[in-house]
Symmetry: C2
Subunit: 136 residues, 2 copies
DNA sequence: TTGCTTGCAAAGCATTTGCAAGAGC
DNA sequence: GCTCTTGCAAATGCTTTGCAAGCAA
């Protein structure tokens, strides 16, 4: 069983075949699917699954902290299940491909208290943009 | 005259009253407006300006590198005219407020060549998320 | 049984587009 | 005058919602 599914079961998440399928589709590394892509793949495993359910489920996984929402400059958000291994993203400006990367250093540490303006900072997203080898 | 307008004129950008108004609305620091907010403010200066023109103009300013597109997790993109002074963003997860910040160190330098996977990296966006003093 | 989840269809919102009329240079 | 820009209105694409029926616990 997928790691994601196992964690969700442990957390007492009410399981349905639709939710199982969405979790299966998302499992793995370097996965950055749009909601629509998740729906297409989920449909291959469970033909009756609806788009609305995919959106519901993705929203919940994000709320649970099991999936990260990635905003690129494209219209559709992407969903990244690799929430338990801190990482950042390398995005191709041309084709939209995303790769996970692991820069050195703690990005949070780079923001000194006097630059926080009283904010309680809990998260950092670091996105590198450029051209991938195929598009360069 | 605003700095932004001056730069655009120097670059030979064909000037119209609509474009002038959009540039005026965007000028300044800590400005992170949505296209709709730009339209509302532009309307106060030039009542006939259309939404489509605001979108056209914003898209061009981004293409010219004079304005930066900021993707948060909200639906609408935000536009930041502070393109000539490298900076990053501090976003409140609750109310959406954005502040410009200036972390120490060069974020680009943190990504070693062996983590670039052949990409030609040209840009870095660093976003800190948390709660602002008012929402905490 | 009880309440949470699903599917459908329609609505909502941000953004884009085609095209004729208008304005800069 | 020639070309680029504007405005309108319709279309598009992603996402959300309301509600009745279905299913997990």
């Amino acid at each position: 069983m997928s790691d994601l599914l196992m964690r969700l079961r442990e957390r007492g998440w009410r399981m349905t075949s639709q939710r199982r399928v969405v979790a299966q589709v998302l499992d793995g590394d370097h996965v950055h699917l749009t909601a629509d892509e998740v729906h297409i793949r989920a449909t291959r495993l469970l033909p009756e699954i609806s788009r609305a359910t995919v959106y519901n489920t993705l929203g919940e996984l994000v709320a649970l902290g099991e999936v990260i929402e990635v905003s690129t400059h494209d219209r559709a958000k992407r969903y990244d299940p690799n929430a338990h291994h801190p990482h950042h993203h390398l995005v191709c400006s041309a084709c939209g491909t995303i790769r996970d990367v692991h820069p050195t250093g703690d990005a949070l540490a780079g923001l000194p208290p006097e630059e926080r303006f009283g904010f309680t900072v809990s998260d950092v997203a670091l996105t590198y943009r450029g051209l991938c080898p195929d598009c360069a």
